[in-house]
């Protein structure tokens, strides 16, 4: 028996070890990360950091001395090659570590284009880690041509940064519209306009066939035969949960590492949290890719590793910064059957998703009030009349649950 080991030194891993110490866990604690740097925030990578507006030192979740000061053995740049759940040991960097409890916070892995269509050519990037950004940042030079594959939030954020820096940006999306998987047509309309107004060429229903180039990419060939010249390419077509290690350990995997409501995997000594884990939600299971979830889930798991017995209840929220627009999303819109648009002042807008009569989610564009009111209503398990939301004379604050400020 020798303490707790946490594999994966991202936001979830950092939150987990900090909370373990916070609740008084005094045993051995090891945090293992594959990247050579201490845990850092990922959201700014595709925003301020990519743009060059943020010093790398400010990305770190905790100061560098935090881990040593708190008796946390931080092992960076090391891969765990093997977990033996029967022996409760794992192999890392030539060592065999024993654990009493293990937590997996391995995050997610960006999908790449297959090599046979040019995915491994030089100048083709994905956006996930600090090293990805540091490698692509020198490409962001005024006048160069960037092709973005994928019209999700990562692609749109990169388009905004690139355009602001004076690049010529084309974004292609295979689905009929951008944000198809994650947002309503109304929200997609808002962002399409925002980007085209800034000079981005947005091509929807546009499939990539393959990339052209010898060592480096120089163009993309579309499914309809058209060719788009590009100096470099960013692929933003989603992520997959990092489950390889869990699978080799024989853990149950179901859209991520399967966990129960406490965050425990199919092995009673192993836990999982954040992007890599799926968990029970209403009548089914879900997996979330967001920093808010990574923090909350990891903190909940930390509590449960010391025996608190706390059921995890997700309170999904997200945000995105593009140009001068801040998008804030409260809740999850899956299963919506009605969308209500509300125009605010000064170009702000919000999109409210209902399922049956229940408010499921709100996308708020430069409208923090809509976001916060929606968030409070959803988290209180309450709803609101769609016609009140639609009515521009309604003061949103009157719709907030009365428990505000005292919940």
């Amino acid at each position: 028996m020798s303490g707790i080991v946490v594999i994966g030194a991202g936001q979830a891993g950092a939150s987990l070890v900090a909370r373990l110490r916070g609740v008084g866990y005094g045993g051995q604690l090891t945090l293992i990360g594959a990247e050579p740097v201490p845990p850092y925030q990922r959201p700014p990578l595709s925003k301020a950091y990519l743009k060059g507006d943020m010093d790398p030192e400010r990305l770190f979740v905790r100061p560098k001395n935090f881990y040593a000061d708190n008796g946390i053995d931080l092992r960076l740049g090391q891969w765990v090659s093997d977990i033996d759940p029967a022996a409760k040991t794992l192999k890392v960097g030539g060592d065999v570590l024993a654990y009493s409890q293990l937590a997996l916070t391995t995050g997610s892995i960006p999908r790449r284009l297959p090599a046979r269509i040019g995915g491994s050519l030089g100048g083709v990037y994905v956006m996930r880690g600090l090293a990805d950004i540091d490698a692509m940042a020198p490409e962001f030079v005024e006048g160069r041509r960037l092709l973005i594959v994928g019209g999700g939030y990562v692609g749109l954020e990169a388009a905004a940064v690139a355009t602001s820096l004076g690049l010529e940006v084309t974004l292609i999306e295979a689905a009929p519209r951008i944000l198809q998987r994650v947002a309503s047509a109304a929200t997609a309309d808002y962002f399409r306009k925002l980007h085209t107004d800034h000079g981005v060429r947005v091509l929807e229903s546009t499939k990539l066939d393959h990339l052209l180039g010898d060592d480096r990419v120089r163009a993309a060939v579309l499914a309809d035969g058209r060719e788009i010249a590009a100096d470099f390419v960013l692929v933003g077509v989603g992520v997959e949960p990092a489950t390889a290690l869990a699978e080799t350990a024989g853990l149950k995997v179901e859209n991520g590492i399967w966990t129960d409501a406490l965050g425990r995997t199919s092995d009673p000594s192993i836990w999982a949290a954040g992007d890599c884990a799926s968990f029970p939600h209403s009548s089914g299971r879900m997996r979330l890719e967001s920093v808010g979830h990574a923090i909350d889930h990891a903190e909940c798991v930390a509590q449960n590793m010391v025996g608190t017995g706390m059921t995890y209840v997700a309170k999904p929220w997200f945000w995105s910064d593009q140009y001068d627009t801040k998008l804030q999303i409260a809740g999850l819109n899956s299963g919506y059957d009605q969308v209500v648009e509300r125009l605010g002042q000064g170009g702000s807008a919000s999109v409210w998703y209902f399922g049956g009569k229940r408010l499921l989610a709100v996308d708020a564009m430069n409208d923090p009030r809509a976001y916060m009111v929606g968030k409070r209503i959803i988290e209180a398990g309450q709803t609101v009349q769609p016609n009140l939301v639609r009515d521009p004379t309604t003061d949103l604050r009157t719709l907030a649950p009365s428990a505000i400020g005292s919940s």
Binding site: P43, K47, V61, G292, S406
Partner: protein, 107 residues
Amino acid sequence: MPKITYIEHGGKEHVVEVTAGLTVMEGARDNGIPGIEADCGGACACSTCHVYVDPAWMDLLPAKEPMEEDMLDFAYAPDPLRSRLTCQIKVTDALDGLVVQMPEKQI
């Protein structure tokens, strides 16, 4: 380096030096001071770095942007005269001696 005093809801005081140019939120984070969560990392996208600023200091702070104002309306127990989001306050030499107090909780 400007000194900032962070007072936890329970009354525990932390007096730390924060490099000018960082935010008051980053000063708390980098010194391991509990009570300021800053889930969004300083993007003014959540309201979990809310504090009450000693009224004597309010006028010396940069003015609130509308975004911060609206977010604060829905923070935990906001006080229109004293509430600020610490991610929006950049530390300068003029803020040497600033005192901020954490709310009971962050939501």
